[in-house]
């Protein structure tokens, strides 16, 4: 029966039995993956960010919460210029982090 409305999908991230193996593999490949303090410098200075959405901070966080599907496509905008690496206060090797994410994770078509 069509009521003209229906159940909406919950926006809540449910963190139960989180699929962690990929993130663990990432942290093994690039140990800096756990070092982010969420300051947002990478996003603010991003060369690609001038033209399109790109936030490494958000992507990294989404990987930790296993809700990356929406965020990963942003990664495709990266030019690997390395500015984020220079501005990161924690000295995260952002370029290798990005390349490692591209290796371990995939984008569902």
């Amino acid at each position: 029966m069509d009521f003209g409305y229906s159940l909406s999908k919950s926006s809540t991230m449910k963190i139960e039995n989180l699929e962690n193996s990929k993130f663990k593999a990432l942290a093994k490949l690039e140990p800096d993956a756990t070092k982010c303090i969420g300051c947002g410098c990478c996003t603010a200075s991003c060369s690609a960010g001038v033209f399109a959405d790109m936030s490494l901070r958000q992507i990294l966080l989404s990987l930790q919460r296993d809700c990356q599907d929406k965020y990963l496509p942003m990664l495709q905008n990266c030019m690997l210029c390395g500015k984020c690496m220079l501005v990161c206060p924690r000295g995260i090797n952002t370029r290798h982090l990005i390349l490692s994410i591209c290796k371990i994770y995939g984008i569902e078509q």
């Binding site: 926006s11 962690n20 969420g38 966080l61």
Partner: protein, 342 residues
């Protein structure tokens, strides 16, 4: 004969001040409400940032008390101010005179059950930072049994007007980082989440602790305050918060929740303040004569205060303040004798 100086409170601050005063040639008298000296330090296992054993610090503080008189399980009835100083009368009828009075009555941990939505005292698997320290010290607990997922909630009773404390308790972030690392050491397979609003790790080497927590122990920091906790059918806890950095609400199922209770004024502060006519800040802590220049001195002559009774402090800060207060008492008495007030 050496002059008596009464110190109210036998925690680290009172003990350190007493020792300094004794070394300056006075006969300090410590009046402690509890059965034992040492204050909150007794409840703690290890101290940040290096993880020094609290026991050791306590031993250091409570040994070498020669020349110091102390009374525990004491109940103060009245304090009177006279021209010659202060007279403290206990409920037992005994009274002590002293030309100067030092308040080191410390703080109280925020009673976690007041933050009702977190269910401390209602849900089995919700404990506080103090409970966890007891577990570290004793090595066993009825609740902590191989938890797979552990949550730490920062700012419980701090920065929360709803529970009457707008202030930051200053030491809980560092404690939370320390405890999370210790838990990961004990339960290497556990995933540990820390819910914080801001991480306020202000001291030397504290940032290194945080980095180690992230890098070595893989503690996951979630920026967002836990809004409510409920119990699931299997007895585990359901925690709701927002990951404010992702702008998404989240629901986390965990086996153990540790509430980082903050620092609030000790119950006796209000009554002592009333008896001694000390002004209290909005936060309930004593207001010193001048927060920058005279943090250990009250407005009234001969009345001094040090340690966490004037606001949240770390142990080294407290000890420094204790020594400073002792020297100030010494200077005050010298000046008073010269000018003939006493």
């Amino acid at each position: 004969m050496a002059e008596n100086i009464i110190i109210i409170g036998g925690g680290p601050c009172g003990l350190e001040a007493a020792k300094t005063l004794r070394d300056l040639g006075y006969a300090p008298i410590i009046l402690e409400k509890k059965q034992e000296l040492g204050g909150h330090l007794r409840k703690w296992d290890r101290l940040f940032p290096e993880g020094v054993q609290a026991k050791q610090v306590l031993k250091e503080l409570t040994s070498g008390l020669k020349g110091i008189e102390w009374h525990t399980s004491v109940d103060i009835e009245t304090i009177e101010k006279s021209r010659k100083g202060y007279t403290v009368t206990l409920s037992t009828g005994v009274s002590y005179n002293s030309p100067a009075l030092l308040l080191t009555n410390g703080f109280k941990l925020f009673p976690a059950e007041k933050k009702e939505e977190y269910g401390y005292g209602i849900y089995d698997k919700v404990i506080t930072n103090a409970d966890l320290e007891q577990y570290f010290a004793k090595g066993k607990d009825n609740v902590i049994k191989k938890p797979k997922t552990i949550g730490f909630v920062h700012c419980v009773g701090s920065r929360d007007e709803k529970v009457g404390n707008r202030q930051c308790s200053k030491v809980c972030c560092a404690t939370a980082v320390k405890q999370a690392c210790e838990m990961k050491e004990l339960f290497p397979d556990a995933t540990i989440y820390s819910f914080y609003m801001d991480l306020r790790l202000f001291g030397r080497n504290y940032e290194d602790m945080y980095l180690t927590a992230q890098k070595k122990y893989g503690i996951r920091y979630i920026r967002g305050r836990v809004s409510e906790v409920s119990e699931d059918i299997d007895g585990s806890l359901i925690v709701k918060a927002e990951d404010t950095l992702l702008c998404k609400p989240l629901r986390l199922k965990i086996d153990l929740l540790v509430l980082m209770t903050g620092i609030v004024p000790e119950n006796s502060s209000a009554s002592l303040a009333q008896q001694l006519n000390i002004e209290l800040g909005e936060d309930g802590f004593y207001k010193p004569k001048d927060t920058i220049l005279e943090p250990c001195m009250a407005e009234n002559n001969g009345l001094f205060m040090a340690g966490a009774c004037t606001g949240p402090k770390t142990i080294p800060e407290t000890l420094s303040e204790a020594r400073a207060a002792a020297v100030q008492i010494h200077n005050y008495l010298n000046k008073s004798w010269i000018s003939g007030i006493l």
